[in-house]
């Protein structure tokens, strides 16, 4: 298939985003604000890990290594995740806002992919639809709760998180060198189209939550991740994440 490089690039972006956000969000397990939320957020992190496994499995069928090797043995320059997912968890306000902005993009991306000409991805998109719909429901309910129905402090913290997270979130949509190819072959409509849908989807929710989207002078400040240039946070996280795996890479779990 002539679009292999383009398709693999798309799959690596998605799989790496899901793997890294899954690991970051799982860092809250046992430390969540209340038990009910601890369970919900951990469960969402596990879903994301499952999605990354499914995507790495598709990459395996295209000639890449098996999923564990791909997930646990690459160094940061080989990762294609965006900067947004790399940042440490911060406070719960930061993690919730990241979860909201990331998951809305994740949901809309999979929605576009349900009609992808690459059938295995279209099938996967249909399969994960329900899980991601819940992720967005969870995120949006929290954002509205803390933005519009909470206290002055909760509103202020959500606004300052949005100010931090929003410019990073624009890095999700860093264009690839394959945009035209992916669109022409019907695999994926493209990052620009996705970003447009994303803005339209987050705006009314943020408005209901009394939160204002900050002006961003240069969206490209969060670019680089899709080409292997990452923040200083990714490699330490990868080292920690793969610590046990590296003790014995051949062990069977």
């Amino acid at each position: 298939m002539s679009n292999d490089a383009a398709l693999k690039d798309l799959l690596f972006r998605m799989a790496d985003d899901d793997l890294i956000i899954a690991h970051r969000n799982s860092e809250w397990t046992g430390l969540g604000p209340i038990m009910e939320e601890d369970i919900a957020f951990s469960s969402i992190a596990q879903d994301k890990l499952g999605h990354s496994l499914a995507l790495y499995t598709l990459l395996e069928t295209l000639g890449e290594a098996e999923p564990d090797t791909t997930a646990f043995t690459r160094d940061e320059a080989q990762f294609r995740c965006c900067h947004l997912v790399e940042y440490p968890i911060g406070g719960y306000d930061f993690s919730l806002m990241r979860h909201f902005l990331f998951d809305m993009a994740d949901m809309l991306r999979f929605e576009l992919l349900e009609s992808s000409s690459y059938e295995p991805l279209a099938k996967l998109a249909a399969k994960v639809r329900g899980e991601i719909k819940y992720h967005v429901f969870h995120a949006a309910t929290w954002v509205e709760q803390l933005g519009a129905k909470g206290s002055e402090e909760s509103h202020a913290r959500m606004q300052s998180s949005l100010n931090l997270v929003y410019p990073l979130a624009l890095g999700i949509f860093e264009p690839s060198q394959f945009e035209a190819e992916l669109a022409a072959s019907g695999i994926f409509a493209g990052e620009a189209a996705l970003q447009e849908k994303w803005i339209a989807a987050i705006s009314p929710i943020l408005e209901r939550s009394n939160l204002r989207i900050p002006a961003v002078a240069d969206p490209a400040q969060a670019y680089g991740g899709r080409r292997g240039y990452h923040t200083e946070h990714l490699q330490p996280m990868l080292t920690e994440m793969t610590e046990v795996f590296r003790i014995d890479p051949t062990a069977s779990w």
Binding site: E27, L31, I34, M35, E36, E37, I39, A40, S43, I44, Y134, F137, H138, T141, W142, E144, Q145, K149, E240
Partner: protein, 129 residues
């Protein structure tokens, strides 16, 4: 000296080893209220009570209920209701449910009509012929 843990997250939190002197008891927690959760296993089923949870309002109760009570079992629908909004005849009054033995005549199963019904249908079918 801070706690060095196998869990890197705990090590990073830099919790003093001698931290008991720095503990201050929390004030009485102002807990969220509780909600009772009902789920429906499949379309058409009666909703079944599956448990309770803490939440600040109904929307958040639904968000939590999905992962608390529907992540491992079949479920097509969830209800939540504030525990306070449920009115009960409690276990302390369970004697109101005790019944006298000889009251078959008040219950549907006290009437044996199966045979009569079959006979009626047979006769009607015969007269229609």
């Amino acid at each position: 000296m801070t706690i060095k843990s196998l869990d890197p997250r705990i090590t990073r939190a830099e919790i003093p080893v001698d931290n008991e002197s720095t503990w201050t008891p929390l004030p009485d927690m102002d807990q969220h209220e509780t909600y009772e959760v009902f789920h429906q296993e499949k379309r058409g089923d009666q909703p079944t009570h599956v448990g309770a949870l803490h939440a600040p309002n109904p929307e958040m109760a639904l968000v939590f209920a999905k992962e608390q009570y529907a992540r491992r079992s079949r479920c097509v629908s969830i209800w939540v209701v504030r525990t306070q909004d449920i009115h009960t005849i409690g276990i302390e009054d369970s004697d109101v449910f005790e019944t006298t033995p000889a009251k078959d005549y008040r219950e549907a199963r006290g009437y044996r009509v199966g045979g009569k019904l079959t006979e009626f249908k047979r006769r009607r079918a015969a007269s229609n012929e």
